[in-house]
């Protein structure tokens, strides 16, 4: 286990670390928590859509009962 081996391992680790960081991702959005804003907005929209669907479902259920 010479100095050379240690340096190669070290270099490999550095390249591995930098390679994973090279690909651009929305890391800043994640680190400052802004991603939660996106999630909240989407969750609100979906909650609204589902509330609407449930309403429709119940309305159609009533119609079905009336027509029986």
């Amino acid at each position: 286990m010479g100095k050379q081996a240690l340096t190669t391992i070290f270099l490999l680790l550095i390249t591995a670390a930098s390679a994973s960081a090279e690909t651009e991702m929305a890391d800043t959005m994640r680190s400052n928590g802004k991603i939660y804003v996106v999630v909240v907005v989407l969750a609100t929209i979906f909650a609204g859509i589902f509330a609407y669907l449930i309403m429709l479902d119940r309305k159609i259920g009533k119609l079905e009962k009336e027509n029986k």
Binding site: T23, V39, A43, F46, F50, L53, D57, I60, E64, N67
Partner: protein
Amino acid sequence: MRSWGWKIICIILCMYVVVAGFLLPVPRLDILNETIRNLYFHVPMWFTMIVLFGAAFYYSIKYLRTGNLQDDIYAVQFTNTGIFFSILGMLTGMEWAQYTWGAAWSNDPKQLGTAMSMLIYFAYTILRSGLKDDEKKAKISAVYNVFAFAMMVPLIFVLPRMVDSLHPGNGGNPAFAKYDLDSDMRKVFYPAVAGWIMLGWWIATLKTRLALVRYKGENTLQFELEKKQTNG
């Protein structure tokens, strides 16, 4: 007003996908970057479409066997909802392609195959609107629907896999399942597929129930009119 259980599961799955789809880690891949998360939304559109068209195919065959117009209503509404999801899938796919493949439309075999099967299904609605007699309309469109489904399978599943395609899993391109779709993504992708299919099914059943109510209403009217005619 049938069972609410699976609808609640559908809501939970879809809400989970919206939250976890953006918060759980995804593999860092060049070009795709964060857009890989579209996998949770774009791909389930097609799965939903296929399930809905499959249901329409089933009810078309059932109509041809029984001649019951209610089965025709099922087939129509499942097809219409399937078309809706195919349009969503196509639009999301074009938006995704614009930023990853460089163009919204690159004549990719899978894009072309899907566009062709979409046109086949558009023709189904046009065919229906062109026929006046209910029985004839139901019978002809049921036969057409069987052919449409039989065309969709090779156009979407077989032909794109035999030529070069930009889509993963086609023409030598690796599928997501091979290594891109890691265990983190599976945790969201499978619930996403299940959740979206259930959502599509829910919408389709709502439309079907409404159409059935209308059909029954119309038939009682017809029935009463016939009664009046025979009495008067």
